[in-house]
């Protein structure tokens, strides 16, 4: 009896160490992109949408809903995350809060995911093999490095399910509150929680009544709070889905190649107990189907299910009887190297991602030398940074869903970028009152143009309409005369 107690205590201690190790690894990884930037003297936020949410958070706590920094104006729709970020911003400053909050949410998500897996009866080894690849995955790193509302919604959803699966009634009420807060993010989050609750109650036949009440509340929240869009896409959706899904092919919120292979292995390994996993299959299928609505942000949610399959795949590989011990050892070494390589490569990419120091300098110049109501033309993916750092209007940013005539603006922008007809270019510039044009190296190297004298690049130096007023190694700014 004493010995069994001792074993249990040892097991508990081991689990605590395991959990601590995962949380520490998670924290260390999430700190790397900003640490690398700070070391190279760059304190700018990572990622395009960080700047949008920083501005939205400031507006949210100040009670402003109208955004005038887009030519023509628009109304913001805030999520719970924006209020939380805004409130933290009052303590730390909004930029520091945008750096710290996602990492905190990441660690909390890991903690809740660990406890949830434990509650669902997943053994210690599998839990470790699920969470370690999850921490190393590029999609996880993006979710909890770049400030975005999905990070908060995922954390709340995990907390909600952790509490919902608890035996204590008051803890389940806490879970319901977490679900409601998550549902305030986007109707998509409410739909996801409703779907997962249905799967949980159908497969376990537990707490049906409570689930029905929560679903009813969530539907009510969606009906009152979100009359319009189902899912808001904060970033430009790339045309090449395959490239976006695989981070090693350049995907922004993607999965590493090894992670993907292990997911497939885990999927097939789980098929032997398909009745146990049917809920996970349905959730994965639903999330895959949500790609057209949510864009690459769907990967943030899908990542947690993929990690589950990765864990199963690794357990399967590890528990299989191998004929060649050398091959087994080499295979595991390569898997570890492969997972690490994808993470390191992604961390490096993320730490050098826009907005760069040079872009920050260029926008600083613009803030000082232009007037408050002047409009700037650049690539839509730089729109949020121009609005936040320079405080100037843009013709178009990536929040297309909030711009009524976004499609027309996009067509006009394309015409402007690719025309060699000065009159046509001047017509569009007049229509949107564009005073400045900001061009960077990435735009010249395939983001917009492929040739050094293509379209607007041909017109800029040869015309009296445009005057080069600023230039550094990466950025040049032209004044429209």
């Amino acid at each position: 009896m004493t010995m069994r107690k001792g074993n249990r205590a040892y097991q508990g201690l081991k689990e605590q160490k395991l959990l601590l190790a995962i949380l520490l690894i998670g924290m260390a990884i999430l700190v790397v992109p900003y640490l690398a930037r700070v070391i190279s003297g760059d304190t700018a936020l990572v990622g395009e949408q960080s700047y949008l949410h920083a501005r939205m958070a400031e507006y949210a706590v100040r009670g402003i809903s109208q955004d005038d920094l887009l030519d023509g104006g628009r109304t913001f729709s805030y999520t719970t995350y924006h209020y939380v970020l805004g409130l933290r911003g009052k303590l730390l400053g909004i930029e520091k809060a945008s750096m710290v909050l996602p990492a905190v949410l990441g660690v909390l998500s890991l903690f809740f995911a660990y406890l949830l897996l434990k509650r669902l009866g997943v053994d210690g080894k599998t839990r470790f093999l699920i969470l370690l690849p999850l921490v190393l995955s590029p999609a996880f790193i993006y979710t909890y490095t770049v400030s975005n509302p999905h990070a908060f919604a995922i954390m709340l959803t995990l907390l909600g399910f952790l509490c919902f699966a608890d035996d204590e009634r008051h803890i389940r009420i806490l879970g319901a509150v977490a679900f409601c807060l998550a549902a305030f993010s986007q109707p998509f989050n409410a739909a996801l929680i409703i779907g997962l609750l249905l799967i949980y109650t159908i497969t376990t036949t537990m707490r049906k009544n409570e689930a029905i009440i929560i679903i009813a509340i969530l539907v009510l929240i969606v009906a009152i709070h979100h009359p319009a869009s189902f899912a808001t896409r904060y970033e430009t959706i790339p045309g090449d889905v395959m490239r976006e899904i695989i981070s090693d092919l350049g995907g922004k919120i993607g999965f590493g190649v090894f992670y993907s292979i292990l997911t497939i292995i885990g999927f097939f390994a789980s098929w032997k107990q398909k009745s146990l996993h049917v809920g996970v299959y349905v959730a994965v299928a639903a999330l895959l189907a949500s790609y057209p609505l949510l864009g690459n942000a769907a990967s943030m949610y899908l990542n947690f299910f993929a990690a589950y399959f990765v864990g199963i795949g690794l357990v399967r590989l590890q528990s299989t009887r191998w004929e060649f011990i050398v091959i087994r050892n080499l295979t595991f070494l390569i898997i570890i190297c492969g997972l690490l390589f994808s993470s390191i490569s992604y961390l490096d990419r993320l730490s050098h991602a826009p907005v760069t120091k040079e872009m920050g300098d260029g926008l600083g110049w613009l803030a000082e030398h232009s007037l408050g109501d002047e409009t700037v033309l650049s690539h839509p993916s730089y729109g949020y940074a121009i609005e936040y750092l320079a405080g100037r209007k843009v013709m178009l940013d990536s929040l297309f869903s909030s711009i009524p005539d976004a499609e027309r603006r996009r067509l006009d922008m394309d015409t402007l970028f690719y025309t060699v007809n000065l009159e046509e270019a001047e017509g569009i510039l007049d229509r949107y009152d564009i005073e400045y044009i900001l061009i960077d190296k990435a735009m010249k190297e395939q983001l917009v143009w492929e040739e050094p004298d293509q379209g607007l690049l041909y017109l800029l130096p040869g015309s009296e309409t445009f005057k080069n007023v600023y230039a550094n190694d990466e950025v040049e700014i032209w004044k429209v005369g």
Partner: protein, 498 residues
């Protein structure tokens, strides 16, 4: 005939004959066939001088980055320490390519357990038309890749023996560091596993382990080595950034007629018969491996996802191995019938057929390949450019001659046949075509200015490439000065600016 020593002597003779024929053709021309040969030579010379390949090239496209597995170049660079590069380029690839004789023998002997059939398969392998023509005078890494791939297959067939596991791992590493075509082998292994499952054959744990390791190892090395390529091109890297206007011709659809002439009638027909027989009537683990290989390569050829020459070479070797099965069965069958007394006549007919359908096309295609090597006029023009132009001079040529500009003339080119990591390749390719086919001087000068071109190389290859007889815009001595001309190979200096 059946004695081991006798067979080895015969194999040595076939090897020597194959090598002799190859060297005879290779030394018919003082130059090499195709611009890619000169790219390899430039890399080899650079490795010999500095110990490293050129990854950052200031000449190609006026400055670009290369990413490629360099093992083949290192092998040649090693021999270049003792022999001149021309001899290395002609001799070493042919010696390596001829070694296919031994490896195909080992494979065929392993699956048929019949030395005579294995011997004939090895004879056919030595004279697969596409293999011979593509590796004789081209300094192509295929000369090393195909024998390595064949040895990889042989090791896999004997994977039950531990020493072959280590050999397999070693060869796999060498192959990955030589050429990306190892992906075809890995895809074939996946198809093989599916075939085994469909046929209800028992699982072999050792095979599964090796296959899984191979896939992980390959993927990892590719991600590490080609990270930049993947990030730059994304999934389109499979098409190697080839300009869209030549993509349709580059991955040309492969007809049965092409396959017959390039692989050889007998191996192709016998191979196809063996596939149908073993796929539907007899279940055999080893043969399923080759069926999987043929199926994978055939499918990739069909969908234009593999370079036709590479696909046909692999298919040729697979069909040759499968041919050994048919040979064995046919002559075993004849022995059991009343036609036994005509066995020698059958054998004679068989030899004549092999000679006329494999050896003759192989010699013909190899001769054609050697004939299309870089002409002495072009070499003279390149020599002139090297002697009479500044180091930073930009020279325009058609893409197939681009590597000649960087390798022989050692000057900057505008375009060559290595399109990877080049932004706006479609525009560049069209611009070069636009210059050569321009009707008016203004357009040509404008485009020449765009790329800072100082000289234009105009050769019979350029004429063929763009279907033109002459440069129509050159009638103004003020803008274009004819500085070199020998037998239809001309160099013009571009003088005007717009």
């Amino acid at each position: 005939m059946q004695s081991k020593q006798k067979i080895y002597c015969l194999l040595a003779l076939v090897f020597a004959f194959s090598l002799g024929v190859r060297l005879y053709f290779a030394f018919q021309s003082p130059t090499f066939t195709g611009g890619d040969a000169y790219f390899t030579i430039r890399q080899v010379e650079h490795i010999r001088q500095t110990g490293l390949p050129i990854f950052e090239d200031a000449l190609s496209y006026g400055g670009r980055t290369y990413i490629f597995p360099p093992l083949f170049q290192y092998v040649l660079a090693f021999f270049n320490l003792f022999l001149p590069i021309t001899i290395v380029g002609k001799l070493i690839p042919n010696i390596i390519a001829s070694s296919i004789v031994f490896i195909v023998y080992l494979i065929a002997e392993n699956i048929t357990k019949n030395r005579t059939s294995a011997f004939f398969a090895s004879v056919l392998a030595a004279f697969i038309p596409i293999y011979m023509s593509a590796t004789t005078n081209t300094v192509s890494s295929y000369a090393l890749v195909l024998p390595l791939m064949a040895y990889l297959v042989y090791c896999f067939l004997r994977i039950e023996e531990e020493r072959y596991v280590y050999r397999y791992l070693g060869v796999l590493l060498i192959m990955i560091l030589t050429h990306h075509s190892v992906v075809l082998w890995l895809l074939s292994l996946i198809v093989y596993l599916i075939l085994i499952r469909l046929e209800g054959l028992p699982k072999n744990r050792k095979e599964t382990e090796v296959i899984m390791f191979s896939i992980f190892f390959f993927v990892w090395l590719q991600v590490v080595i080609f990270k930049k390529l993947f990030l730059f091109h994304g999934p389109e890297v499979i098409w190697q950034n080839i300009p869209s206007s030549i993509l349709a011709n580059y991955f040309t659809s492969t007809s049965i007629l092409t396959m017959i002439t390039q692989i050889g009638t007998i191996p192709l027909l016998y191979g196809m018969y063996a596939i149908s027989r073993y796929l539907f009537a007899i279940k055999d683990r080893k043969i399923s491996l080759f069926i999987g290989f043929a199926f994978t390569v055939g499918l990739l050829l069909w969908f234009k996802l593999v370079q036709p020459s590479l696909g046909l070479m692999i298919l040729g070797i697979v069909m040759t191995v499968l041919f050994s099965l048919f040979h064995q069965r046919t002559f075993d069958y004849i022995r059991k019938t009343r036609f036994e007394r005509y066995r020698n006549i059958f054998f004679g007919v068989f030899l004549v057929t092999i000679t006329s359908t494999s050896l003759v096309p192989a010699l013909y295609h190899t001769k054609e390949s050697v004939h299309s090597s870089v002409s002495s006029e072009t070499m003279a023009a390149l020599g002139w450019l090297q002697e009479n132009t500044d180091d930073d001079t930009v020279i325009l040529s058609s893409p197939p001659e681009g590597h000649l500009i960087t390798s022989v003339a050692q000057r900057k080119d505008v375009v060559d046949t290595n399109y990877l990591l080049i932004a706006g390749i479609d525009q560049r390719y069209d611009d070069v075509k636009g210059i050569y086919t321009a009707h008016y001087e203004t357009r040509a000068v404008k485009l020449l200015n765009k790329y800072g071109v100082n000289y234009l190389l105009f050769t019979p290859v350029t004429r063929r490439e763009y279907g033109i007889e002459a440069l129509r815009f050159i009638d103004n001595a003020r803008c274009f000065k004819h500085v070199f001309g020998v037998n239809g190979t001309d160099i013009y200096r571009s003088l005007c600016k717009i």
